[in-house]
Subunit: 323 residues, 2 copies
Amino acid sequence: MKFKSTAIAHPNIAFVKYWGKRDENLRIPLNNSISMNLGNLETKTTVEFGNFNEDSVYINDNLIEGKEKERIIRAIDRFRNLKEEYKNLNVRVVSKNNFPTGAGIASSASGFAALITASASALNLNLSEKELSIYARLASGSACRSIPDGFTEWLMGTGNDDSYAISIAPKEHFKIYDLIILVKTDKKEVSSTEGMKKFNPYFYSRLAEIHENLENVRNAILTKNFKQLGIYTERDCISMHTVMMNSGLFYWEPETLKIIKEVRKLREDGKICYFTVDAGPNPHILTLQEYMEKIKEHFMNLGFDKILESLPGGRARVINDFH
Amino acid sequence: MKFKSTAIAHPNIAFVKYWGKRDENLRIPLNNSISMNLGNLETKTTVEFGNFNEDSVYINDNLIEGKEKERIIRAIDRFRNLKEEYKNLNVRVVSKNNFPTGAGIASSASGFAALITASASALNLNLSEKELSIYARLASGSACRSIPDGFTEWLMGTGNDDSYAISIAPKEHFKIYDLIILVKTDKKEVSSTEGMKKFNPYFYSRLAEIHENLENVRNAILTKNFKQLGIYTERDCISMHTVMMNSGLFYWEPETLKIIKEVRKLREDGKICYFTVDAGPNPHILTLQEYMEKIKEHFMNLGFDKILESLPGGRARVINDFH
């Protein structure tokens, strides 16, 4: 029996966002969401079960304690509680991101997707992609979207067993470039988990239009209609951030708004690109290969010189194995 | 009979905003709104009727033509059409603002309030404050709030005869300072009249919470509860800009957001102030005398050196008379 496994998962950028839950504990969302895995960014996580003195978690070479550790251990415990023989095993988790943590690039999505994938493999659980996505969702909602391949949709479902993500198109299907402009890489002041608890009436308007956004984004991906994808992605981004602002949450920085306005100008100027922003300050600029270099150059010239670049990414996967 | 009169009116800053109409032609709004006249800013307008060759309008020494002139002439025509003897008179309008035009400081409010007041006086119409407010509303919605004294509420009403503003407290009642930080003084790209036509589902949420905002702001003025006034004023500002952004209208500039964030920080630091932003980029910072100088200094140090300052202002009034 193996007790150690390493997995890789990618963060994802949502075209239609997840913001707000129907069930806090089970992390059942208010709406479906659609995202693209970011192939050039990844979390690599090794999980080892054994007779250690205690559970330990290292992220980017730092020993993790407190609430962050507890949340990770709770995810591990869902597996350890499955069999009597697992219950006395301690765990050692070693995880590394190749991108900055906590600045709205959804490191919790790739982190928990890699953790779940590696843990299930280490314990030889033979879970289906659907089951992995459910365990990832229980740990961190949007992590469920980093389990399947390429472009994925989180089906909100009605309860624990039918709320999970599926791939709606593989990563090779549509060559979209995501340029992530880092305007701030500190940890955000209010976590998504806390932020989305603050209900306000603007959620109703968001939900009133979100099915149109979902349908248009899904069809745009399937038919590779980049303009349609961009229009509805921007619309959904503004929707989420205005809901946030009405809860007093300003994730945007002045630079975020500057970049949003620049994207609108670039488009008027024939350089086809669209913005979206997750629960953080860093804008993602979606574009196609032909415009990519000019857009990068434009922002470099404006002094934004920390730009990450990614194409669509694959599923969360075990890359090593110690049977 | 006199044919010439000069009037002064102040722009106003809305604590609960006007955005969206039930009736386009009559300018009947979707909701009541509450504002404070800005006493240190004013438009001074002289209206003279006579046997001129044509109607002419000068604003800040510029001869006005095109749509801007047409809108002013339409307001004049509502008076000229009242009596047969007025119909053949041409008009000469000379108007000056002591503040920058078209940057969200509601120059149309003070401009039309002064125009209506001067025109009615020139033609010796003896209109009541309510009637003047109705004529001002027909010319430019929020202008009706610049007719009465001090702190005013526009009662949305049900039609032409009951949609007008009343004074809810005189200017001496509550010594609120408004610091207007000019981040951009160009004319805005999309006028309020055009912008508010774009209906979207976020209007519903706005209307769902606006009665709470109105009640709290009105009571806060009456009881001089500055904190309550500030909290609900900010809430309503975010609400209006939410509706705007979901129509694709970004009146905020990066500097606007920077100042919003600074106001929140100043407050944490014990300097009591609140922001609001009209349909333009320039934030208004509401504060009390004891914090005023420190707040001004704070923004001057950040490089924002164009700051207008105002206390509450009085009613629109005739200042000269040529009987």
